[in-house]
Each structure stands twice: as C-alpha cells, then as structure tokens.
C-alpha cells in the first residue's frame, strides 16, 4: 500500500460542509491522520452518528482510481466476442465478425429498411453453439414499437439452424423451442416504462449472465414526441445511454439500438433553396451515445448500410438483403477491401 499517496487533505473528501468543519475542528488535517481511527471513536469525537463517521472512513479505504493498463485493454479487445449478422459484408463492415460485444451499436433507418429484421436475426445468432462458431448465449429484445413478431423469429431461427446443420450430422443441434426460450422480450408502452426498465436491468442481467446481445427497437419511439421539456428529454436519454454503455462493458454484451430517421429542413437563402435531408432522430447530441453508428438506406432496388461513425473502423457502405431467411448478403457482392485496415496516409 503506497502510504505517501494516501496523504490527502481532509478538505478534499466528498463530505458535506458541517462534517468537514467538525473534522477540521477535531484536528484532522490529512487522510493520514484518519488512518488508524475507528469509526466509533471518530463518531464520539465529532459528535456525529456512527453512520456519518463510517462514511468518512469509507472514502479512505476505497482505491480512488480504478484503471486498466493499455496492454490488458488490448488483450481484452482481442478476446472480444461478436454476434454475426448473417451477412458477410455487414459483418466485415463492423470489423470482421459482426456486432461487437462491449460496445453500443446504433442502427438508423427509415421504416421498412429492416431494422427489426436485423434485430431478430441478432437475437437468433447470439445463440449459435460455440462448436459452430457462436457464443451460445441469450438475447434481450426491448420492443418499444410492437414490431417483434415471434412467427418471423421462428422462420429466421429455422433458416439459421438449417444453414448451420447443412452437410453435418446434427447431433449437437438445438431446437426451435430452445432458441425461442432464450430470447427475453420486454414490451414497453411509454418512455417512463423505458426508463424504469433500463434502471432495473442490472438485476436481470446478473440473473441471466449468458445474455450476449441486447436489442432496443427502437430507442427513439417514445422519445420523439410529447416532450414539453427538452431538457428532461436530453437528461433521460443521456442517462439511458450511460446505463447502456455500462451494460455493454460490465456484462460483455453487444448493445444494439435501433433509431428512426427524421426530416430536417434547412433554410436556404430564399424560400426556394430550402432543402430537406433525412437524419437520425433524437438530435445531434444523441450521436455521441453510440460507439458505432450505421445508417440504412435504399439505393434504387438495393438496401445499403453505411457505417458513419466508429472509433476504429473505416467508414464504408455495403449492400445487404432481407430475405425470407433473414438478413443475408446481396447475391454476387464481394467486399472489395478489408475495412478493418485503415488506409494510411502516404
């Protein structure tokens, strides 16, 4: 224990003013003075309750700073698990193997782009057996829009199983019932419920440590309208984002939030120059909530996904398809470059 480091003025402890004054009056100047003091005697000296004395001493015991060395972080990063999207191009855009655990990924798209389909596909894929290259985990689906259709999940699960078992004897195969019983669905009807659910999700995740993917479809629905107090909205959203990032880190799971698109009108000079663009909902500041942000769009007859924000991956655009079997590659498409490698300036 590096004692010298512990020498810290009492006045810098997180205490209320009265308690700080009492400590000062009783002659305590630095944390070293408090080192060998027992809680009950401190309480007596300061004429405060034992609880309050404990709260002072507790602050000394705690290691004030928890840090991770970059080496550990890198090792951890290399071991990070992924959940595949079943679309190679999509996976490669996200770094090779799919949606990363420990991260928050946001997928934005107008209605009909397949956000829900991607969500359901991920719920299924999170459960692929480790022997088949998966994580053999569970999934949480927070449905705020009522778009989780279980019949469709069955279809996707069947197609996924079929693809996995193709050409192999299906001894360690799973049943559809098993698949379905590992997807935990929460149906949310208002933003209050959404906040309440996120608040208590810790307990659920502790009880279900195998959860590998957490889908929120969509994060925006209940937060789009109906807020007289935009400050409240920003605060709630930020609080939620904070929780989600923590879940991703602490429980090592992939958090995927779906977001809607909204029309933003920009005023040009003169009324003729007004132009409107489609942007992800919830405003600019919400863009900071996620680690990776993907925007889905049509380009004539093909769906495209564009990675527009990522700390470690190259921005790129890839085509994908939604078929009866779920999310798939567009037939004939070959990814041109490995997006993991950033282009270095020459």
């Amino acid at each position: 224990m590096p004692m010298k480091q512990m020498q810290r003025p009492v006045s810098t402890l997180n205490l209320d003013q009265a308690l700080r004054t009492r400590l000062h009056n009783a002659g305590y100047r630095t944390t070293a003075d408090l080192k060998d003091v027992a809680a009950d005697s401190l309480a007596q000296q300061l004429k405060v309750s034992i609880d309050q004395a404990m709260s002072v001493l507790k602050q000394l015991k705690r290691d004030p700073l928890v840090s991770v060395s970059a080496l550990t972080a890198l090792t951890r990063e290399r071991q990070r698990s992924f959940v595949t999207t079943s679309c190679k191009a999509f996976d490669e855009m996200l770094g090779g193997s799919g949606v990363p655990a420990g991260r928050v990924t946001e997928i934005c798209g107008a209605p009909g782009m397949g956000k829900t389909q991607i969500g359901m596909q991920l719920c299924v894929n999170a459960q692929i057996l480790s022997s088949q290259g998966g994580e053999h985990g569970e999934a949480i689906y927070i449905d705020t829009e009522g778009s989780f259709i279980v019949e469709r999940v069955v279809e996707i699960a069947e197609a996924t199983l079929e693809a996995l078992n193709a050409g192999k004897d299906s001894q360690d195969s799973q049943t559809i019932e098993q698949f379905l019983s590992r997807i935990h669905v929460f149906r949310i009807h208002s933003y209050v419920e959404q906040v309440a659910l996120i608040n208590q999700l810790d307990d659920f995740l502790t009880e279900h440590p195998k959860v590998k993917v957490l889908i929120i479809d969509s994060i925006a629905f209940h937060f789009r309208q109906n807020f007289a107090d935009m400050g409240l909205r920003t605060r709630l959203l930020n609080g939620m984002a904070q929780h989600l990032r923590r879940f991703a880190e602490e429980f090592d799971l992939a958090v995927v939030m779906m977001n809607q698109m909204t029309t933003r009108v920009t005023r040009g000079q003169g009324s003729d120059n007004d132009s409107s663009v489609l942007v992800p909902a919830l405003g600019d500041s919400w863009g900071h909530a996620c680690t990776n942000r993907i925007i889905l769009s049509w380009q004539y007859e093909v769906r495209y996904a564009a990675l527009v924000k990522s700390p470690n991956l190259q921005e790129c655009t890839i085509p994908y398809a939604i078929t009866s079997k779920g999310v798939r590659d567009v037939p004939g498409h070959r990814p041109a470059t490995n997006p993991r490698k950033r282009l270095l300036p020459t």
């Binding site: 107008a110 009522g146 259709i149 379905l180 997807i183 669905v185 208590q200 663009v277 489609l278 921005e315």
Partner: protein
C-alpha cells in the same frame, strides 16, 4: 422522506436524476440510486418480460383477409399490431377493410376469428349495404346476422374527437366487444384540412400522430387485436421522386439518396406516397400498398390490383410485386 421532497407522482421521482433526488429528498446518493431502482421495479415489474417461446405459445392465428392469395402473401393473414393500408381512391382499401371485418366476426369453422370488429369511419359513411353484400358473397353458408351484429360502427367527423376516441375510448371498447380488428377509415381525413403547415402545426401534428400511434399500439398489444388504418396517398412530384438526400453523415454522396418515405422507385409514373409523411410512417408496424396495374392497356376491367407489402416485420417480400388479383 419522499413526501418531504414534494414530488407529486411516482413518475416525477423516477424521472429525476440521482443527484437531484438525493438533494431534494436529503438522502445519500447510494440511497437515491437504490430508491430509483426499487421504484422502477414497482412501476414496471419484471414479470412483464416474456421469452419468445412464451410469446409463441400465446400467439394467435392471423386475421384472414378472406382471400387465399392475399393470405398467402401475408403469411397467414394480418398479425396483431398496427397495419397501414394505403393506395389511391378506388383501389380497394375499403373493400379489404370490410372483408377483414367479416373474417374477424365469422365463426372459426369458416376461417374467421369469431370475435368482434370496430369500424371507425372518418370520411365516408360506413357502406352498410356493401358490407352486407360482401358478408353474403364471402360466406354464403353463413347467416349474416352474426357478422352484422358483431361489427360496431363509429363515425368521427373532427380531429379532436378522433384524438380522444383513439387515445382513450378505443382500448376499453375493444375489450368490451372482444374486437379482433379495428378499422380506421381513414386516419388522415381529419388531419388533412389544416395543411397550411406552419412549423408549429407540423410539430403539433407529429405530436398528435405519436399519441394516436402509441395508443393504437398499446391497444393492439394488450388485446392482441389487429388495427388497420386506411390512408390516402399524396402524389410524389418528379423532383421529389428521386428522393431526399440522406444526410447526417459526412460526404453523403448524391447517388446515395433516400427515396421519400422510403418507397422503392417504380419505373412507371404515378408514384404515390402515403399521406401524413414520415411522422406517421414511423408509427406503423406493417404497411401495405394497394395499386392498380394495367394488364390490358386501355381496358379498365382488365386491371389487376397489386398488393405490395412495404414495411412488415413478419413479411420479407418487400415490394416483391406480388399480384393479388381481387376477384371482383
């Protein structure tokens, strides 16, 4: 302790931040955290969670449209949720809606759901004789009394009433009448009047649409009920047809454009989009587009009706152009 802090409702407490709560209630930060968590679990208890397997066991048959081809296309009919059906006038929106009412009220041995139906008419009065005809022709063996008796009609003529009925009155009515389908014909009629569209109006309208969407979705989920909103279309003009630029990220290339309302570009002219815009599009679970195509040009009778599923969680054939010819 909570009383001291003068919070009016439990929600107010829940929506305040930890530090704010700690300050107002004069409690420690940790206690505030624990309090928030406890309150959360009481307001939204964990049993609301279900596994997909439980949902699957509970899931009911889809609502048949009364037409084999259409049902096949919809994979066994419409599922509980909010479905939008849009198309030009005369394309068969009301026809489809009436057929859904018949199938929701018809007995199970005829492929119906043996429940009730609610028809909310905001535009034209309910076409009662046509309804009777459809019931007779669809299910000739059935005494139409049952169908007629179980279908309830509500006329709404103004936006305010519509807002009130859809937000507050619909859910109990569904429960009382054991309705399996609710038709709103049409969702936009009471909105389209004030399209002077100042910016404030747009925001207000978006707000109202959200309220309706939320209420409908909650009702659909609580009562496992199919809610169908018929919607008119607006023309998409040549300039706008090529879409809005997809913004929100650097270097949005002009080729990467998003079609207005996310509709696929059709080769032909007469491109249309559902009215009420993206604010409403975000509210629906499934969107079905009805349109006509000329099979034999110039011959009105030779027109087939085209059903095109735009947004559907349980459908994949996104605008596959499947042909559901109405046998009328």
């Amino acid at each position: 302790m909570i009383l001291v802090a003068q919070f009016a409702t439990a929600e107010d407490v829940l929506l305040s931040s930890e530090s704010e709560l700690a300050k107002r209630a004069r409690i420690k930060g940790e206690d505030a955290k624990a309090l928030l968590r406890q309150l959360s679990s009481q307001l939204f208890s964990a049993p609301k969670h279900q596994t997909a397997q439980e949902l699957f066991m509970r899931s009911t048959d889809g609502l048949s449209t009364g037409d084999k081809l259409l049902d096949e296309l919809l994979r066994g009919g419409l599922r509980p949720g909010v479905t939008e059906v849009f198309g030009k006038s005369g394309v068969g929106k009301t026809q489809l809606a009436l057929q859904l009412c018949v199938m929701a009220t018809a007995p199970a041995h005829l492929g119906g759901l043996d429940g009730g139906a609610i028809y909310i008419a905001t535009e034209q009065p309910f076409p009662i004789t046509r309804f009777h005809d459809i019931a007779l022709s669809r299910l000739p063996t059935l005494d139409p009394i049952q169908v007629l008796d179980r279908t309830h009609i509500i006329h709404i003529r103004d936006q305010e009433t519509q807002q009130h009925v859809l937000s507050y009155c619909l859910s109990p009515a569904i429960a009382r009448l054991k309705a399996r389908v609710v038709i709103i014909d049409s969702i936009a009629a009471n909105f389209r009047g004030d399209e002077g569209a100042s910016e404030l109006n747009v925001a207000l309208r978006a707000n109202m649409l959200y309220e309706i969407g939320r209420a409908l979705k909650t009702a659909a989920h609580d009562h496992q009920c199919v809610i169908v909103c018929l919607n008119q279309v607006v023309d998409v003009f040549e300039g706008a047809r090529h879409g809005q630029v997809l913004g929100g990220f650097k270097g949005a290339s002009p080729s990467l454009q998003l079609n207005m309302n996310n509709m696929k570009l059709a080769a032909g002219k007469n491109e249309v989009a559902p009215s009420l815009g993206l604010a409403w599009s975000n509210m629906v679970n499934t969107r079905i587009k009805l349109s006509r195509v000329n099979i034999a040009p110039g011959n009105l009778l030779g027109q087939a009706r085209l059903l095109d599923a735009e947004t559907a969680e349980h459908l994949f054939n996104h605008g596959a152009g499947c042909r559901g010819k109405d046998d009328r």
